[in-house]
């Protein structure tokens, strides 16, 4: 047992107690319990009333001692939380009519897949400060996006002006040298365009850099009908695959899932050499909402990989149990391809390709 092993063991034990709990798990549990209400209530009532009454009397006595006495008695102990919690639930069916069972909506089931939101990506490069920009069009009316020379004329944080053609609208804003990624989002009603940015604060000056992107629509659009605004800052998770979320299956093999905001795709990456290099594959549109790997320890194989996305169809290898991942199990699709790259570099590769396209 080396120091390294001790260190790893401590990290492992720490991880056991700090693992994040799936969002909404308690709500889903409550939902399932609500569906069980009639069965449980009829059995619960047999003993509950006497216990509740006894606890209530104890609580009253305690309250009287605290309020009525000159000094609170040190021997009076608060009712244990679990006991007091159990003492407060709804009355038993003997005192109230049983309501029809109301099955709560199953939060673990994702909504039916919807069509991907059209997205375009461009790279703005004013003054040698390249910035990848992802344009998301919820209105499905944008037919293209292209970088243009910025020319801000107002003090609006996000300016929307008419472009050179009736079908073009220019969205411009002032960013900074630390910007890593921006997302321009047009809402479904085509009345608001939001600009969100992922910014780091590492070694760049504070001089504002004007950015502008031209949106081309399928028909003439009045820029005055669209209001520009700042959107919420982008999550670092959107930049590329997140190595901190790697799950390793043995010393060499591991998986990580992530969302690349630049391409708008969810990715699954696999390493066979302990994380030195990664093979990645796009598995669908949208933000990754969950992923799971099942390892058959007997044959040391990874027969099941699943990933669900906020938009698009969930992906899973054959053999996935439906319970493993919300929404998975129905309408599975195969990976498009396996590519080669590093997890962090998944987005960079696409950005390089796009820069080449822009240059051409």
């Amino acid at each position: 047992m080396t120091d390294r092993h001790e260190h790893l063991m401590k990290a492992f034990l720490d991880d056991l107690g700090s693992a994040p709990v799936p969002t909404g798990l308690a709500r889903r549990v409550s939902g399932r319990i609500q569906g069980e209400h009639p069965v449980r209530a009829s059995r619960f009532g047999a003993w509950f009333l006497p216990v509740a009454a006894a606890l209530a009397i104890l609580a009253l006595v305690g309250f009287a001692v605290i309020v009525g006495g000159p000094k609170p008695s040190p021997s009076v102990q608060p009712v244990p939380p679990s006991a007091s919690a159990l003492a407060t639930p709804a009355p038993s069916p003997s005192s109230t009519p049983v309501t029809p069972p109301t099955v709560a909506p199953d939060q673990s089931v994702v909504p039916p897949p919807s069509a991907p939101i059209p997205a375009f990506h461009v790279t703005l490069d004013p003054g040698g400060n390249p910035l990848p920009v992802m344009v998301s069009d919820a209105s499905s009316t944008v037919t293209g996006a292209a970088p243009v020379r910025p020319n801000l004329s107002t003090n609006d944080p996000v300016e929307v002006v008419q472009g050179s053609a009736p079908n073009d609208v220019v969205v411009a804003w002032v960013g900074g040298g630390c910007d890593q990624l921006s997302q321009v989002t047009l809402d479904a009603a085509r009345t608001t365009v939001s600009v969100s940015t992922l910014t780091t604060s590492q070694g760049c000056d504070a001089i504002g850099i004007e950015r502008a992107v031209a949106l081309t629509f399928g028909q003439p659009v009045a820029a005055a009908s669209i209001r520009g605004q700042w959107g919420p800052p982008l999550s670092p998770h959107m930049m590329a695959l997140d190595p901190s979320a790697v799950s390793s299956t043995d010393a060499n093999h591991g998986f990580v899932a992530g969302h690349d905001a630049f391409t708008g795709l969810a990715y699954l990456a696999e390493t066979n050499n302990g994380g030195t290099s990664w093979n990645d594959m796009p598995v669908g549109w949208g933000t990754v909402t969950g992923a799971a790997v099942t390892v058959d320890a007997t044959v040391r194989a990874y027969p099941i990989v699943a990933i669900s996305c906020s938009a698009g169809r969930p992906y899973a290898r054959p053999g996935l149990r439906a319970g493993h991942l919300p929404g998975a199990g129905a309408d599975l699709e195969a990976p498009e391809r396996w590519g080669t790259g590093r997890a962090r570099g998944a987005g960079q590769r696409h950005r390089r390709a796009d820069r080449r396209a822009n240059a051409a």
Partner: protein
């Protein structure tokens, strides 16, 4: 129902982590839900309401044991938990290594050893609470925990001399 919901809210993280440690990530959520549902159904059998905690964790542990036995030794590992909730904080290499090296060794331990480690480290139960959950004398979990950690060291050393 409101009171039980509160108990669910209070105990969900610990029950989930217990299931995750014992049975793996992919099965953890299902097992945690099943444990609460079983507790809800069996609530009339709970004669001492103030012992709800140990009773719940015993149910959860039994569910995990049944699941692992019925599924063989299949381990399931979840990855991305959602935006803003990194699965592992700190150094990436350490996290990967820890899971890669210690994870298989942990799964080689006996059921009792895994149970006491999962209860203490994953569910955050004290030694006394571990004794209540496992139904053993109060002094036993401490020695069992030490033995489990020693066994874990041995397994790690065996896998990586």
């Amino acid at each position: 129902m409101d009171a039980f919901e509160q108990l669910v809210t209070d105990n969900t993280p610990a029950v989930y982590r217990l299931a995750r440690a014992y049975a793996g990530d992919a099965a953890a959520e299902d097992l945690a839900q099943d444990a609460f549902l079983a507790a809800w159904r069996a609530l009339p059998a709970l004669r001492e309401p103030d012992r709800f905690g140990p009773w719940l964790y015993r149910i959860a542990l039994n569910r995990c044991r049944s699941s692992v036995r019925s599924n063989g030794r299949v381990t399931e590992i979840a990855m991305v938990q959602g935006v803003g909730e990194p699965a592992v904080r700190g150094d990436f290499r350490t996290a990967v290594e820890a899971r890669a090296v210690v994870g298989p060794a942990f799964r080689c331990l006996s059921e009792d050893a895994r149970a006491v480690i999962a209860l203490h480290y994953a569910a955050g139960r004290s030694i006394r609470e571990c004794a209540e959950v496992l139904g053993i004398p109060e002094g036993t979990p401490k020695s069992r925990l030490n033995a489990a950690l020693e066994a874990l060291r041995t397994e790690i050393g065996r896998a990586e001399p």
